[in-house]
């Protein structure tokens, strides 16, 4: 085994290179989803396509980072790479996650031999298909979800492959952005290439070749040690996505997780059959979310590489909602199934073993909102993919964070000033949802309300959200978080209504290609997190702080927390004591 200090140094150098590529990407990309949203990551793979290191960017790309490299090698052929190639790939049926997520990978040659790959996975905001933003909740086949690319060369030997570019640009609705974004990705990879060369020069081929397997072993040992501290046994739980955009019925994910010494076996065999709509995930997505859920609880500082995942086996039968069979659609798996699985693993299963390291359910949906059309100011087609922060669930000792992206990913919002400069909308509200957080000893975090009005003759919108019927759950006696609402107010109407009421969409939260007109307004209220522990055990001082901060109303302080406030704002201690006892008895 190489010198452990050298391993540590080498690992941080690999991660560093990934971070450098990420910064270059952020600063040069064209789409707000990249330069503001940061919906991408960068990776280094070894010569077999196994993950060596990944940037601390969006962990939703973990599955693709782990699996798609080997697919690319198999598809392209191990001997078919030459220096200066860049391969593009987004096929969920070949190790991808959902089609907007594009892998660009370039072989890394040193001393005339291929030593590994540099890659990036990024969510391309518009890739064609049946709805602007390529997130159609009404797709029933992958062929409707946009342009599908098996691993093909985008650049060959440093020269752009015009055929590939032309096909891609002809099928995406906003080719200028595709052009700018892909150039940013390729540029960032070339920066990584130079840095990795310098690293090989510094350490030498042999030393690195010897160290990488040791890094894998090191991460594996770390995870095995952490897993063996968990009590052996099989732990089961389930959760659901509330509908698939077609049938008004929930689709359940059922998980039996076994801890056996230093191994974990995660079995999803009892899950529901694959849905007609887009809420399915390929195996890669299910694996990504499973790993992520486990990593939220153990091994959080373990180096992320192929070795870390060896102790974890995942069973997900084909044809179920957790392993979609071709040609099933799956754009929502990455954004909606992932958070559901992550919370199931950490909040309902691992919480049975180590509750102090877990949390209640978060808002649990990416609140995908897509829109596009001809821009009234430029005359060009535009499209945007927007997601929203939700409330996180309460933890053993701390309240859930307000306004946070779902934990399976790690993206930023698009600032309103960027949003309105780029797209024809005018916001009238962007604020937290008071009283939204699930009541608990620690409270669930608050979701966000966004209200915005159309400032164009027409905008075509699509949505893919969840948690509008099934609330984010609390744990250990904690209350549920407030559910999602996705509403529209037609110009001239007084009231906000659901899209089903206003436009007759089958699902109120999963629809595509609704045509809004000037003056129409959209209201998105994102879900809040669940509470942790009985609310009447929340210290009165914390309830008072919440009331003072406007997070909890006086009425809910009384109803949920049993804290009675007098007209002067002070606590009526006797009434509070009595009410809290009553609430506690009511449950007992």
């Amino acid at each position: 085994m190489p010198d452990p200090v050298f391993l540590k140094i080498l690992h941080s150098q690999f991660v560093n290179i990934c971070e450098e590529m990420a910064v270059a990407m952020m600063r040069t990309a064209y789409s707000p989803i990249f330069n503001e949203g940061l919906d991408f990551s960068f990776l280094i793979l070894d010569e077999n396509g196994d993950l060596v290191a990944m940037a601390n960017m969006n962990p939703a790309m973990l599955g693709q980072a782990l699996f798609s490299g080997r697919w690319v090698i198999d598809d392209v052929g191990a001997d078919e790479f030459e220096p200066g190639d860049v391969i593009v790939h987004n096929d969920p049926y070949r190790g991808g996650s959902h089609m907007p997520e594009h892998l660009l990978v370039t072989p890394f040659f040193f001393d005339g031999k291929r030593r590994g790959f540099l890659g990036t996975v990024g969510h391309v905001a518009e890739i064609g298909g049946m709805a602007p933003g390529s997130f159609s909740s009404n797709a029933t086949e992958i062929y409707q979800e946009g342009l599908r690319l098996p691993p093909v060369k985008l650049v060959r030997g440093g020269k752009h492959v015009q055929e590939t570019w032309r096909i891609m640009l002809a099928n995406h609705r906003t080719p200028e952005h595709t052009w700018g974004d892909f150039n940013a990705m390729i540029g960032a990879l070339s920066i990584g290439q130079r840095r990795l060369e310098a690293l090989y020069e510094e350490h030498g081929v042999e030393q690195i070749a010897e160290a990488v397997p040791s890094l894998f072993d090191y991460a594996e040992a770390w995870m095995r040690r952490d897993i063996s501290e968990l009590a052996d046994g099989t732990y089961s739980a389930e959760d659901c996505q509330e509908d698939d955009g077609f049938a008004d019925r929930p689709y359940f994910i059922r998980c039996d997780l076994t801890i056996a010494g230093d191994r974990v076996i995660v079995d999803y065999s009892r899950s529901d059959e694959q849905a007609r709509g887009v809420i399915n995930g390929p195996y890669v997505v299910t694996a990504s979310a499973t790993y992520n859920g486990i990593f939220q609880v153990i091994g959080s500082e373990c180096p992320i590489n192929a070795g870390a995942f060896r102790p974890i086996d995942i069973i997900a039968p084909a044809g179920t909602v957790v392993n979609v069979r071709h040609p099933g659609p799956c754009v929502g798996g990455q954004t909606e199934l992932q958070p559901r699985i992550l919370d199931l693993i950490q909040g309902k299963i691992l919480s049975q073993i180590v509750p102090e390291r877990c949390a209640a359910a978060c808002g649990g949906t990416s609140c995908n909102f897509l829109f596009g059309g001809i821009h009234p100011r430029t005359g060009h087609y535009y499209a945007h993919y927007n997601f929203e922060g939700i409330g996180w669930g309460g933890r053993r000792t701390t309240d859930g964070n307000n306004a946070q992206i779902v934990p399976h990913g790690n993206c930023q919002n698009t600032p309103l000033e960027v949003f309105e400069t780029r797209y024809p909308w005018l916001h009238s509200e962007y604020r937290l949802n008071p009283d939204g957080g699930g009541a608990g000893r620690t409270r669930g975090g608050l979701g966000i309300t966004r209200v915005m009005t159309v400032e164009a003759d027409e905008i075509v919108v699509s949505a893919l959200c969840d948690r509008s019927k099934v609330s984010p759950w609390g744990v250990d006696g904690g209350g549920s978080g407030e559910r999602l609402a996705f509403l529209v107010r037609r110009d001239g109407d007084e009231e906000f209504r659901t899209f089903s009421e206003a436009f007759g969409t089958i699902s109120p939260t999963k629809f595509s290609n609704v045509r809004l007109e000037r003056g129409d307004a959209v209201l998105l209220r994102s879900p809040s997190g669940g509470g942790y522990g009985p609310p009447w055990e929340r210290p009165v001082a914390h309830v008072l702080e919440d009331v003072a901060s406007g997070f909890v109303s006086v009425a809910r302080a009384r109803a949920d927390y049993g804290v009675v406030l007098g007209t002067d704002g002070g606590v009526d201690e006797a009434a509070t004591r009595a009410l809290r006892e009553e609430l506690a008895r009511g449950v007992g």
Binding site: K8, R27, N401, A403, P415, S428, S549
Partner: protein, 697 residues
């Protein structure tokens, strides 16, 4: 007529004061313990010990951590935040991402304002500057009355921060609001986003102006105290403070721009780095200021300090004002050695501070620190740390490091070496990331190392990163204090003006630049007597569609301003990111003017001819490649001009220790700096230290 220049650096542990006696051409240094509760007290104690008569002070400049500590300790004043109605939660929503990927227990940063103190104002400006909801007089009246009521009822003084949507495009509403408030509640200071940070991205702008309000009282009081006390003692010059951008500002003007002092105490080092780099004829250096608890890394490029407007003290709470471009990492002499969950060695960011400090201090610390490791390796002299003022206990250091070595399963010295390697790698990563984030090829940079611990690690660090060499200025432990004296007067003005290169905008671009230039010059003139100021104009450019800009230097001495700007941007983009989009439309976003009144730096030292130096001692020192080697120890003051010595060796002086490795050569520059280079690189002429060129020829 005697005249003295005084520079002060108030650090966490020590307050350093440098006196430059211009008449006699001498300089003196004084070190006193800092008084964190009352930072001004240590300053005047140091001044008292300097025996400089106040009336003979010609210049008094101070770098302060008052604002820094106020933010870190969360001791600022209560802030009322006024913003467009419906958007009061922007400081709480932030950017919705998080610091650590796999930590569901992570707690989001708390804003510097309380939620009930966020007040909505009925008004709305759109992206293009059009007014969608006018700010009516009744609404103005309502808001002003509300602020007055709260100010009245508040048990503590309040400060107002105003940031309305799109105020960087059209500041009218903010200005009316501020004017009304200043008239009605003159005692309540008002900070306005379109004045403090007229940039797009509402959260970043809001947080910046909130921080300004949050800091106002403490900074104002500290600056006021200094100025008054200095005057009371008979000084005829005002007290100046170092700004985060590396310029100086009169103390009396500091409160209104409090946010501009957040890096005041850290900028001195970088300024000194530039000063000594210029003295040595080096255009490009990386500065490394390593003290007890942390290590600040900065860059000087083409003789200039870079600045940035993206800075976060706490993750997720951005402060968007110009600051010298620095990265701070938790790697100092007192950084604690531990193991991560996977059993690998980890150094910092936890620190043993000054008390108990490293185990070797014998003040009760038992954790191994970087200083302990250096002591075990023989690199530090237990009897000559801070010139012998602090005795180091090699036994305690050895015991602490032994525990680490045992867990690693290696010998004591190998364990200590591993600690130094990991600490060095942390610094190396900081340098690489800082450089590459800014598109700089660090391999042509030299490392300017100072602070008590900088020169101890510099030789290995430079070798590890592949830097071109190491420079160690005179009195490295007092470099930051010295730097305050080398600071120029500097004003940064910025305006947001979104223009496209494919539209005829030459006149608009020129007009906008002329306006910010005039504003910067006026402000500079208001602060001091100005002769031939240096004016730098930049246009922040991006390809239409990108969201981040690159600052492109421009001149008005051209007939085709737009074409010149676009061409320079293409070149810069290609240089930084490896490609250009030749047919791309370029968007101009920010226009920036930096006005600088250069100050003559203190005169340089001249090393005397002292002949060939003799080591004062030798002792066994451990090196990774060589093992234990009996190594010569030199005293810095014995090294005269034109000395050249081959490593391994150690140079000791009162406030620092310099290590030179095997295969490296150290030379003295006539003006006092040490220059360390790899012996094998000496074949390349450009690496020959400037001062030695003549002799070689």
């Amino acid at each position: 007529m005697p005249s003295f220049r005084i520079g002060v650096d108030t650090g966490g542990t020590f307050t350093d004061l440098v006196v430059v006696d211009d008449a006699e051409g001498r300089r003196r240094t004084i070190k006193v313990p800092s008084t964190p509760g009352q930072p001004a007290a240590a300053v005047f104690e140091a001044l008292r010990r300097s025996d400089v008569p106040a009336e003979e002070i010609e210049l008094f400049v101070l770098g302060t951590t008052v604002a820094t500590n106020c933010l870190l300790e969360r001791k600022g004043q209560r802030v009322l935040f006024l913003t467009t109605k419906g958007f009061e939660d922007i400081p709480f929503i932030q950017r919705i991402n998080r610091k650590s990927l796999f930590d569901i227990q992570w707690v989001k940063p708390t804003p510097y304002v309380a939620r009930p103190d966020c007040i909505g104002v009925r008004e709305r400006v759109a992206f293009d500057g059009s007014v969608r909801v006018p700010l009516e007089d009744e609404e103005l009246e309502r808001v002003v009355t509300e602020v007055a009521r709260r100010a009245e009822e508040s048990p503590e003084p309040i400060s107002v921060a105003v940031s309305l949507l799109f105020s960087y495009v059209r500041p009218d509403h903010e200005r009316r609001l501020a004017a009304a408030l200043r008239e009605r509640v003159p005692d309540v200071p008002v900070s306005v986003s379109s004045e403090i940070a007229p940039i797009w991205r509402e959260y970043e702008r809001a947080n910046t102006v909130i921080v300004n309000s949050y800091l106002r009282r403490l900074v104002g009081r500290f600056a006021g105290d200094l100025d008054e006390e200095l005057a009371r003692r008979g000084a005829r010059v005002p007290c100046l403070l170092v700004k985060s951008n590396g310029g100086q500002i009169p103390a009396r003007a500091a409160a209104d721009n409090a946010v501009n002092l957040i890096l005041s105490g850290l900028a001195g080092g970088l300024i000194a780095g530039r000063h000594f780099a210029a003295q040595l004829g080096r255009p490009d250096v990386v500065t490394l200021d390593m003290g007890g608890t942390s290590c600040d890394v900065g860059v000087v490029v083409q003789g200039r300090i870079r600045s940035t407007t993206q800075y976060e003290f706490e993750w997720g709470l951005p402060i968007a004002v110009p600051v010298v471009d620095l990265t701070t990492i938790g790697a100092g002499g007192s950084s604690i050695v531990s193991f991560d969950q996977g059993g690998l060695l980890k150094v910092g960011p936890e620190s043993a501070g000054a008390e108990p400090g490293p185990a070797a201090y014998g003040l009760g610390g038992t954790d191994a620190t970087v200083t302990d490791a250096n002591l075990v390796l023989g690199r530090l002299n237990p009897d000559y740390f801070l010139g012998g003022e602090v005795a180091l206990d090699a036994g305690r250091a050895g015991a602490a490091v032994a525990a680490i070595a045992e867990r690693l399963g290696v010998s004591l010295e190998e364990g200590a070496q591993a600690v130094v390697e990991v600490a060095t790698e942390n610094m190396a990563n900081a340098i690489r990331l800082l450089a590459t984030n800014r598109g700089l090829d660090y391999r042509r940079f030299e490392l300017m190392a100072f602070g008590g611990a900088g020169p101890l690690h510099a030789a290995l660090l430079a070798r590890r990163v592949g830097l071109a060499g190491v420079l160690v200025p005179p009195s490295p432990g007092l470099t930051s204090a010295f730097g305050t004296l080398a600071a120029d007067l500097r004003v940064d003005r910025r305006a947001t003006r979104v223009l496209r290169s494919d539209q005829a905008v030459d006149g608009e671009l020129r007009g906008g630049l002329e306006r910010v230039a005039q504003e910067a010059l006026d402000e500079l003139g208001g602060e001091a007597e100005v002769r031939d100021p240096l004016l730098t104009l930049t246009v922040s450019c991006r390809y239409l569609g990108q969201n981040y800009e690159q600052e492109i230097g421009v001149t008005l001495e051209t007939d085709d301003l737009v074409r010149l700007t676009v061409e320079r941007f293409h070149e810069a983009h290609e240089r930084t990111y490896g490609y250009r989009i030749a047919e791309g439309v370029v968007e101009f976003v920010y226009l920036t003017a930096v006005a600088i009144q250069h100050r003559d730096p203190p005169p340089a030292l001249t090393l005397p001819e002292l002949g060939a130096p003799q080591p004062v001692a030798s002792r066994p020192v451990y090196f990774k490649e060589l093992g234990w080697v009996e190594t010569p120890i030199y005293r810095r003051e014995h090294l005269g001009r034109d000395i050249e010595l081959g490593g391994p060796l150690i140079v000791e002086e009162v406030d620092s220790t310099t290590v030179v490795l095997d295969g490296q050569i150290v030379r003295t520059h006539p003006q006092g700096s040490l220059v360390i280079v790899e012996a094998h690189a000496l074949e390349q002429d450009e690496l020959v230290p400037a001062g030695l060129e003549a002799r070689r020829a």
